[in-house]
């Protein structure tokens, strides 16, 4: 390979992204003219459709906040409802699902190579991994592999010394937290357990500080005319401060956070001059010129907010956030069957581990000083480059054996999750479950795939619902359909099924709620941005309809259950059945509408209306099971 592989490793960070490659056996971060390797994970689409990425886009946060997107990694593979509470802190609007958002991340043309290894937080679920893979594909990359950030970091650390032992990697980034425990021996990096929180990071610290500053700015003693109690995230921003103000505040508190990693005290300073709408930051300098420091901008009275903050105050403020990382650490240790004292080395990864309090908390949990020799911002990308090199050159010095972070299961009778592949299983992994039919000559069964640790289906993440068809007609209970789940080395799931009596095999295309098929990705590559978004919306509408139909069917099935009359008499409230029926009828009526939100609202309403009935039926099936009766049918 002439000493230089043509693939890169990409650390797709919440705050910054990095790209690294291996040259002459040594991984190196790709840097710009100024020696800067960090590309801010920010994309800005100007009114004239010019797209800015990285540093340039970051500057536009202060001038064109509504058209500039950042920290979107937090929204990867999530539904709008999942992130609603949080979006209030973002000036850009999260509308519909992330058709456009998926496009950003790695769109920097300078760095666009044909093949890449992309890193994700270890605790990302299947939907989030699929979303990341799609993001890479839409950006025109061939995504060779998705690897976990802490594992990548351990790979980079393992380069210097050929050590053997147990390593804990504590990775606190901008938006996500991961802890992974690995055993390293003979160049095999085997992850024993992993845990984390995909919604915990430096951003949360920024938000705490921003809340304080915004509240103080709006207090009567400060008296700023344009600052509301808290930015509401409303479309017109009627009650809140202008998006640009939010960005000013954000920039200032981040600077203060950095300062406090070096110093004992600092000042948060925010100065403003100009109008509320029109882009005052840096007005008059050459740099701000192209971004619309328009002639209409009326000079505004200069204002100034200043606040002193000590490291002790800062640490008291963020202590709860740091504490939230400790429970996942303990769980990971327990899952690996280890005591903190059995960990040989602890490695810190992610920019937020520069905060001294974080280092102290980790040191006290594990009883040893953590390593931070490698640049915590760069180590993940370096590890990803090493992994890319392994894939392409066949370099067999090292091998990563990763695990699946969350258990995988299917829905069984009564809305209970039956686990098929347990969390922390080394991947690739398989698991299987036997299905049969409930009525004579039934040729299809419904299968609902879930990810998560909870017992009830409703508490876990729904990955896919599909109908397994083509079962040869036989008496009820006769077919033996083995459904096999395969998690590949990227942690992504596929499903195959085989009817064992007739040996009919069927590979099922699992359509995860957020994944795209190859064809869809291809189409999105060639079609315009707007068009792709419309496609996406259409698909989401179809999915909402499918979901609604599934709920209607489940409801009808319950109402038709042989013991329903008895249940209704003994357990249901007066009018409960009538209510369920009327909501189901309502959902049926809106089913053909093209308003996804209405369909979802009615679906939710039917779910709510049938919740009690579902619980009653669950209890009955549990009791039946305890009484030794067989309820093994799906």
């Amino acid at each position: 390979m002439n000493g230089m592989s043509k693939v890169v490793g990409i650390d797709l960070g919440t705050t910054n992204s990095l790209v690294a490659y291996v040259k002459d056996g040594v991984p190196a971060v790709i840097r710009d003219r100024n020696g800067d390797g960090l590309v801010p994970s920010v994309v800005s689409v100007a009114a004239d459709d010019t797209i800015y990425v990285g540093r340039e886009a970051q500057r536009r946060l202060l001038t064109d906040a509504k058209r500039t997107v950042y920290s979107v990694k937090r929204f990867m593979g999530k539904g709008r409802e999942d992130v609603q509470a949080e979006t209030g802190h973002f000036p850009f609007r999260v509308t519909g699902e992330a058709g456009g958002v998926l496009r950003i991340g790695v769109g920097d043309r300078e760095f666009t190579p044909p093949e890449a290894v992309i890193t994700v937080p270890a605790y990302f679920n299947d939907a989030q991994r699929t979303a990341t893979r799609d993001a890479g594909r839409i950006a025109g990359l061939e995504v060779l592999r998705i690897i976990n950030e802490p594992t990548a970091a351990s790979l980079a650390y393992g380069l210097d010394k050929r050590h053997t032992g147990i390593i804990a990697v504590y990775d606190l980034g901008g938006g996500t937290f991961d802890i992974s425990i690995l055993r390293v021996e003979d160049g095999v990096f085997q992850v024993l357990s992993t845990n984390g929180d995909t919604h915990l990071g430096g951003d949360d610290i920024d938000v705490l500080l921003m809340d304080i500053v915004l509240a103080e700015m709006s207090s009567p003693s400060y008296g700023g005319p344009y600052v509301g109690p808290r930015f509401s995230g409303a479309a017109d921003g009627a009650a809140g401060p202008a998006p640009e103000v939010i960005q000013e505040v954000r920039k200032a508190v981040i600077q203060a956070k950095w300062d406090l990693s070096e110093r004992e005290e600092t000042d948060i300073v925010i100065t403003r001059s100009g109008t509320a709408e029109a882009v005052p930051y840096g007005a008059g300098t050459a740099e701000a010129e192209p971004y619309g420091a328009t002639a209409e901008a009326v000079p505004y009275e200069t204002e100034r907010y200043e606040r002193h903050i000590t490291r002790a105050e800062f640490e008291a403020l963020i202590q709860p956030i740091v504490d939230r990382t400790l429970a996942p650490c303990r769980q990971a240790l327990a899952d690996a069957g280890l005591e903190p004292s059995q960990i040989d080395e602890v490695v810190l990864v992610g920019g937020s581990t520069r905060i001294p309090l974080v280092g102290r908390a980790v040191a006290s949990l594990f009883g040893r000083t953590p390593h931070s020799e490698q640049n915590p911002d760069e180590v993940v990308a370096l590890g990803a480059a090493v992994q890319a090199d392994i894939l392409v050159t066949g370099n067999r010095e090292m091998l990563l054996l990763d695990v699946t972070p969350l258990s995988l299961g299917i829905e069984t009778m009564g809305g209970v999750t039956s686990k098929i592949i347990l969390r922390n299983s080394t991947i690739p992994a398989t698991g299987s479950e036997m299905f049969t039919t409930a009525v004579d000559s039934q040729t299809a069964v419904d299968i609902h795939v879930l990810q998560g640790e909870r017992e009830l289906v409703a508490d876990n993440r729904s990955l896919a619902r599909f109908k397994l068809r083509g079962i040869p007609p036989m008496p009820a209970g006769m077919p033996r359909v083995q459904v096999q789940f395969q998690i590949d080395a990227n942690g992504i799931l596929s499903v195959t099924a085989r009817e064992q009596r007739t040996d009919v095999e069927q590979t099922i295309e699992v359509k995860p709620s957020y994944g795209l098929t190859d064809e869809e990705v291809e189409r999105m590559l060639v079609e315009s941005f707007e068009h792709a978004e419309a496609d996406f919306t259409a698909r989401l509408l179809i999915e909402a309809r499918n979901e609604a139909e599934a709920v209607i069917q489940a409801t009808e099935k319950s109402l038709r259950a042989p013991d329903f009359a008895e249940i209704e008499k003994s357990e249901l409230a007066a009018g409960e059945r009538q209510r369920i029926e009327s909501v189901a009828a309502g959902l049926r009526m809106v089913l053909t509408s093209s308003d996804r939100e209405t369909i979802q609202k009615w679906t939710q309403a039917l779910n709510d209306a049938t919740q009690h009935l579902a619980e009653v039926m669950l209890n009955r099936s549990v009791n039946a099971a305890l009484a030794g009766r067989n309820v093994d049918s799906v």
């Binding site: 592999r145 095999v188 894939l391 392409v392 067999r396 091998l399 299983s425 080395a489």
Partner: protein, 231 residues
């Protein structure tokens, strides 16, 4: 050994078409990785005897060494057939190591491949094993009284003490069962070593199965008491 006589012993290499033994990982002719046969047995797959006392360090070394031979990372540029085979073999390896590494899962798996899987699907066997009827009956009565005490607002110290006392005979049974399981495991291993008759093997496995199900039932009882204590 317990495979039906009609089971094939050879497979065809999909890369070169040559015949390869069913338990081979790589084709003896072209050295390409072989697809996984449908009924792979975890013991055979890892190259260890079908015994219950396995050397953990040896098992781990085999796991690492085979990982280095099968892992999909090392087949990235190979043909689709080889990539598929690499995925199948490394999945099977991971599943096999995860199962055989844990003594409980190892017993359960042995029972399964010897055709003695606990009846019904999954863990099943929610029925009280006959040997435990007396204890379970006494425990349930005691638990009912303790619940009454708690509902009557009795002091935590009082009912916790009773619960702890109720736990002890069950815990003693658990220890007893662990010892019996170990003894039966040793008998099974000895039977394998001396090539015992099917009848002798079957007797050991039947006993192993009963003790194993009882042990699982006891573990559930203890977990239930634990929940009661912490609720």
């Amino acid at each position: 050994m317990s495979l039906p006589s009609s089971a094939p012993t050879m497979q065809a290499c999909q890369s070169c078409g040559a015949g390869a033994p069913l338990d081979a990982h790589f084709c003896p002719q072209c050295t390409k990785i072989l697809p996984l046969p449908r009924q792979a047995d975890y013991f055979g797959f890892l190259g260890v005897p079908r015994k219950l006392n396995l050397d953990a360090a040896d098992l781990e070394r085999r796991f690492r060494s085979l990982s280095r031979q099968f892992h999909p990372d090392y087949f990235y540029n190979a043909t689709p057939v080889e990539r598929r085979a690499s995925l199948e073999r490394s999945s099977c390896l991971n599943d096999a190591y995860r199962t055989l590494r844990q003594p409980g899962a190892r017993i359960e798996y042995l029972l399964k491949i010897e055709g003695l899987a606990p009846n019904g699907s999954g863990e099943a066997a929610r029925q009280v094993p006959p040997a435990l009827l007396e204890e379970v009956f006494a425990l349930n009565e005691e638990l009912a009284e303790i619940r009454d005490l708690r509902e009557g607002g009795s002091a935590a110290g009082e009912w916790q003490g009773r619960l702890e006392r109720a736990r002890q005979p069950i815990e003693a049974r658990r220890v007893e069962h662990e010892a019996q399981l170990q003894e039966l495991a040793a008998r099974w291993d000895a039977a394998v070593d001396r090539g015992a008759t099917d009848g002798e093997r079957r007797a050991v496995l039947d006993a192993l199965r009963d003790r194993f199900l009882e042990r699982n039932y006891i573990a559930n009882l203890l977990a239930g008491i634990e929940r009661e204590l912490n609720s």
